[in-house]
Symmetry: C2
């Protein structure tokens, strides 16, 4: 590097240009109080004119801090579902908060062929980031123990069954299950099926369990054949519809853990000459990607992933600050609420 044509200038160049010392330049640029306003003005002006910007490696080395927060995403764990698109809005919210406090978000995509733990270790041990968010947590996820042992500030996006104390955030699957079941039971449904994911992502189990609990609480049951596992894709939703209609005891309602499936399910219904809400009640999960597209409109749950990201970034920033000042900070466990929005897909009151 530093070839003749690589004209990146450093703090020495800038100081020499201004005929002052590098210490003053540094203090001026970092907003320290003990610097003549006039000098500061000159420095800032020259820096922007010459395009000087401090080298992050130099800063990091000196300060022990990178100003970066990582977010690890595992490509493809949800097969070909668009599950990862879910995170985009979260990133947006996080970045919006971070830029206010001089942090930046960087996203690490673990390739589908690579071991997630090894990948995480590589990135953490090189000290590329000050803190990290891990997502798509499995029921038992070795990344949690690793990060805790290493004392890296981190947040798990998604619950796990790990016993290691740590901070995590997750969607309110229980709340969604409870309100979905409550709504359907009040409408008179007794045979209610649940569509979950086909892989081992934790929230699939969580959601089914919560639905079952809500049903039992109301004197009903969730037979095993009413738990249908499919990939969280349009095709999965279509296949879900086929299985649903082929059941010997056809349920009168279905609760979905994911809305992408809803598209395929609606499709299957149309092919079969059935109407959601009339022939079977459907309750969706979040509002992506269907919002006001499906007809009849889907009963579903509203969530602002941007706000979630913003909140998450706030917590992370506080964790980093606490670490800086060697303060202990309590772990948090956040259940993010979703709000039910009624559509026509959950149908009329069967009792009236």
């Amino acid at each position: 590097m530093n070839e003749p044509w690589d004209t990146t200038l450093n703090i020495h160049d800038l100081a020499k240009h201004l005929n002052i010392s590098i210490g003053t330049v540094s203090r001026a640029l970092n907003g320290k109080s003990d610097v003549n306003p006039k000098t500061r003005q000159r420095v800032i002006e020259a820096a922007s004119r010459l395009g000087y910007s401090p080298n992050q490696s130099g800063r990091s080395l000196r300060q022990g801090t990178t100003g970066l927060v990582g977010f690890m995403v595992i490509t493809n764990r949800d097969q070909e579902s668009k599950g990862e698109a879910f995170f985009m809005q979260v990133f947006d919210g996080m970045q919006t908060y971070f830029r206010k406090c001089g942090l930046d978000l960087v996203v690490h995509f673990c390739g589908s062929e690579e071991d997630p733990l090894a990948y995480l270790k590589r990135n953490v041990e090189r000290r590329l980031v000050d803190g990290i968010v891990i997502s798509q947590t499995a029921r038992t996820d070795p990344r949690i123990e690793y990060l805790a042992k290493r004392k890296v500030p981190f947040v798990a996006f998604g619950r796990s069954e790990s016993t290691t104390a740590h901070s995590w955030i997750d969607l309110d699957f229980e709340g969604v299950a409870e309100r979905a079941i409550d709504h359907l039971v009040k409408l008179g449904h007794t045979k209610i099926a649940v569509a979950s994911s086909a892989n081992d992502v934790n929230y699939g189990h969580l959601f089914v369990r919560a639905c079952r609990a809500s049903l039992v609480k109301r004197g009903l049951t969730l037979p095993d054949e009413y738990v249908i596992r499919e990939p969280l894709t349009e095709a999965g939703g279509y296949s879900l519809g086929e299985k649903l209609l082929a059941l010997p005891q056809r349920p009168s309602a279905i609760v979905l853990v994911n809305n992408i499936m809803a598209i395929g399910l609606y499709h299957k219904f149309q092919d079969a000459g059935l109407v959601p809400g009339r022939d079977m009640a459907i309750v969706g999960f979040d509002e992506t990607p269907t919002r006001d597209f499906l007809k009849p409109s889907l009963t579903q749950f509203r969530i602002s992933l941007t706000e979630l990201g913003y909140w998450l970034a706030e917590q992370m920033a506080e964790m980093l600050e606490a670490k800086q000042s060697a303060k202990r900070r309590k772990h948090f466990a956040k259940i993010w609420p979703l709000e039910m929005t009624l559509g026509d897909s959950s149908g009329p009151d069967l009792k009236s």
Copy 2:
């Protein structure tokens, strides 16, 4: 930092532990030849046992290289479309190649509220990455001039009208347009409409222009009212269908620049009692997210984004190597091919 409980060990600790000098440790770990095999063995073993891993800031500072390649994505430019999900597979391919040569991919999501150029500058000037890929290039995109001036190795994902020499890669929109039009014209269609994006992303214009050229070449025209701009979403596709059916001169075929729209379009057709392929021919673009889900099957184009990412990473690695050895390397301009796959949606031969 470096609180008492922050027990990250450095090269000095490891050297002391082994009773050898830090120079030897460094050389052993970096696979230099001038080190006793036995010593190397001891060092590697101890490093893995104690969990030592070199601090990236230290390395970067010394070597002038971070071993990181950035990929800048702009959140939300495509409104609420899942356009960004497109990149996931590209990331997967890139990361797969990079890990073979000791590089890593980091993705920078520019928040929807932030200026893309300012965001890019921040990341580049801190020297966080050795090279960068910028995506969602606009027709005139100041990022290109900036990066070129700064002599940062970079690739633009998407063409632009910039006159600055630079490397870029893009999908073969002209090829797709040509084959889609050719196919439809051969089937006897003369009134062919085109669905494009509602915003200023470059490829929208590109695709429309290419379709028009292909039509003109065959003695046909593309009237302005046959160019329909909608958001690249399901809802956009539905709305596209409404506009299409409301046209005074209804076209007999429609070519889509994006497949997410196809879902909404199919939906509208079903609501209107129409059948794709029978009542109007539809040609889709890539195969996401519909693959074999839509019925009748969609005539579309196949592309491996993973392979594209792999190829892109390869080029980037070569660019970095060239820079290292102060070699000049020619810019590339790559048009990535797509392969047509016939479905039923483009319908029968009208002339038979």
